[in-house]
């Protein structure tokens, strides 16, 4: 599958998860009985998400400078699979957060959630696959140290843009159209699907 499409779809997948922010945005809107409070939450949520991705990919870049690609792949795959299995059986969530939150609180919350859920980690194999493709097409011999950093930033931008749209879209739909009973009917256990996604992503890192 096209790498950019995958990166975008994963943005949508992350956005759908209520634990990544749309539910928080709905609650803030309802608390103030004002959709502006809902929309005000979207940007910091996206920013925190993007930062978590950036950190993961920065670690990846640094890792690639220091150790072999093969080892990177094994490490990323191993961590993802273990993390997926762990999250399948043990679903944790943050403590000591609150409802009276500003821009900074929301960004930090979103950053923490994305990092703790492995949202950034999940993207690493996709980028690794992408690098394989581009290496095959590039000239032989030169392997730049910061391989693909422009693509990293573009990828994060694309992923986050889709994440932002999906988060805002679902939040607004639930707030305005679907109502709260939607939560009772349609809130599938995404944590399980998420754990499976982490696992599969790890497998991809191994077999690519």
């Amino acid at each position: 599958m096209n790498i950019w499409l995958t990166v975008a779809l994963m943005g949508a997948f992350h956005g759908i998860n209520p634990g990544m922010g749309w539910l928080f945005a709905v609650a803030l809107g309802l608390q103030d009985k004002n959709s502006r409070s809902l929309f005000r939450a979207i940007l910091p949520l996206a920013l925190g998400h993007a930062l978590a991705l950036l950190i993961c990919l920065a670690v990846l870049s640094i890792g690639q400078m220091m150790i072999s690609d093969k080892l990177i792949r094994w490490l990323a795959g191993g961590i993802l699979i273990l993390f997926g299995v762990y999250r399948f059986f043990r679903q944790k969530h943050p403590r000591w957060v609150g409802m009276r939150v500003g821009f900074r609180d929301l960004s930090v919350w979103s950053f923490t959630m994305a990092l703790a859920h492995g949202a950034g980690l999940m993207l690493i194999p996709v980028f690794l696959v992408g690098q394989d493709h581009s290496t095959m097409h590039s000239a032989h011999g030169d392997t730049p140290m910061f391989f693909g950093w422009v693509e990293y930033l573009m990828g994060i931008g694309l992923h986050t843009a889709v994440f932002l749209c999906v988060t805002a879209g679902i939040a607004w739909l639930v707030y305005r159209k679907l109502g709260l009973l939607f939560l009772r009917k349609a809130w599938f256990n995404l944590d399980i699907i998420w754990a499976i996604a982490l696992f599969l992503s790890g497998v991809i890192a191994f077999i690519q």
């Binding site: 209520p18 309802l30 608390q31 969530h93 403590r95 609150g98 409802m99 809130w187 256990n189 399980i192």
Partner: protein, 459 residues
């Protein structure tokens, strides 16, 4: 791994929860007032037939089961820490004398609850410093449990937290407790990151019974505390008047947007009246004022226990209150005079009395239509989610029962029907008799949730 869809008993808002199906079962703690080898028990009551259909004895003797609550409730739909796929399955039942915590599974077989874990007093003391656990509320990030004091029976009392999946003790909740020392109940305004706590007395002030010297000396709790729920620190203390003592049950508005609630205050040591106080917030400052005062009733001294003979009066003794899920009706238990009152609190600062039922009472001795004479009076009171049914039991606390009802209390549970437009009638057919077992009944939890079990995030 959890459920695929949220537990059907979790509701986003109190309005949604009011549409929940009618309860079929109630869980009621029963304690053995005699010093013998019969352990306390969790009774399962059929709320259609009004009879005990299940009875799970505790593995130890002498716990004095008192208040209890669910390990998971509607608060699991938390917007910032969602975990809606856990089940409403376990009851957390503290023993207020033994300081033990029982984790009881009521889902595997709702009629035969089973004990899945016991946390001993030593472990609670070691990890939190607290003792005499009391109120249980399922919170956004764990199970919050209040405790009256420390192992020596002194203060400060406070709150500790359990993990709601493993039931391991997370630790003491407070980071900065400010002037707070006495403790009793707590609840919160989740939409505002505010926790409220109340004051009764330290274990050594209450365990041997009500101490008249402490009462006249104004040593029982007179304050309500406002806390920052998120940063776990004390913000403000609110005072009752000088003579009002024992600020017990707290019922904040269920609507998470609101910033008001009601506190029941047991007794005024000058005129023996009881009162309800309204706390509220304006411009970031919290304040409290008396909105209901229920006077003591005159009675002939020969009808009164030794402690009250000199007064020739029966105090109402407001020992429990409850608020319907629409924040419209406040129910008040007057354990001394033997009355349940219903107030319309649509305008919280001006409650209107809309209903009253009398049963038992120290001097009134109002009989029940089904069984005739009953002793004790309305005490722990619980309201169904739809607000149509109100249940209550008649025991307060072992040593205090014996002071106010020296003939001993025979445990019972009854039911009232509440008119959605105001009005209260006793269901003449419903009478659950705990005296066959020679037990006393205390708090009631309705299967699926009730008006004091769940906290909501959305309105």
């Amino acid at each position: 791994m959890g459920l695929w869809k949220p537990d059907p008993s979790f509701y986003p808002s109190p309005q949604d929860a009011m549409k929940a199906p009618q309860e079929e079962l109630a869980y009621v703690v029963a304690f053995n007032p005699d010093q013998d080898d019969r352990p306390d028990a969790l009774a399962v009551v059929d709320t259609e037939e009004g009879e005990i259909i299940g009875w799970t004895p505790m593995p130890y003797v002498g716990d004095e089961l008192h208040h209890f609550g669910w390990a998971a409730c509607s608060s699991a739909l938390c917007p910032y820490a969602p975990h809606p796929h856990i089940e409403r399955r376990h009851l957390i039942i503290p023993g207020i004398r033994s300081s033990r915590l029982y984790i009881v599974d009521v889902k595997a077989n709702p009629l035969k609850p089973t004990i899945t874990k016991v946390i001993e007093a030593d472990e609670i003391a070691e990890k939190t410093g607290y003792s005499r656990p009391h109120t249980v509320h399922c919170g956004p990030d764990g199970i919050y449990i209040s405790a009256l004091g420390d192992v020596e029976g002194k203060g400060p009392g406070g709150i500790f937290v359990l993990d709601h999946t493993t039931f391991d003790i997370v630790g003491k909740w407070e980071k900065e407790r400010g002037p707070q020392y006495l403790h009793y109940d707590f609840w919160w305004h989740l939409g505002h990151d505010i926790l409220i706590s109340s004051e009764w007395g330290t274990p050594e002030m209450v365990e041997a019974g009500l101490n008249p010297e402490y009462l006249l000396g104004g040593r029982y709790g007179q304050r309500l505390h406002i806390w920052d729920l998120r940063h776990r620190r004390h913000l403000q203390a609110l005072e009752t008047s000088e003579d009002e003592q024992m600020v017990l049950e707290l019922r904040p508005a269920h609507d998470p947007r609101q910033t008001y609630g009601f506190a029941g205050v047991v007794i005024n040591n000058k005129d023996l009246s009881g009162s309800i106080w309204l706390w509220s917030q304006e411009d970031g400052k919290w304040s409290m004022k008396k909105v209901i005062e229920i006077p003591a009733e005159p009675a002939e001294p020969e009808k009164l226990p030794p402690m009250l003979k000199g007064f020739s009066m029966v105090p109402p003794l407001i020992t429990d209150i409850n608020l319907s899920l629409d924040d419209r009706f406040l129910y008040v238990s007057c354990w001394g005079t033997g009355e349940v009152r219903q107030y319309d609190v649509s305008n919280p600062s001006e409650p209107k009395l809309t209903g009253s039922v009398r049963l038992g009472g120290i001097a009134n001795l109002t009989p029940h239509p089904k069984v005739g004479f009953v002793n004790g009076g309305p005490q722990m009171i619980e309201v169904s989610r739809d607000g149509r049914r109100v249940y209550f039991t008649n025991s307060l606390y072992d040593s205090w029962d014996n002071q106010f009802y020296p003939d001993g209390i025979q445990g019972w549970m009854v039911k009232l029907d509440a008119d959605p437009n105001g009005g209260l009638t006793l269901d003449p057919e419903f009478f659950v008799d705990f005296s066959q077992h020679n037990y006393r009944a205390h708090q009631i939890r309705l299967a699926g949730g009730d008006a004091s079990s769940d906290s909501y995030w959305y309105s």
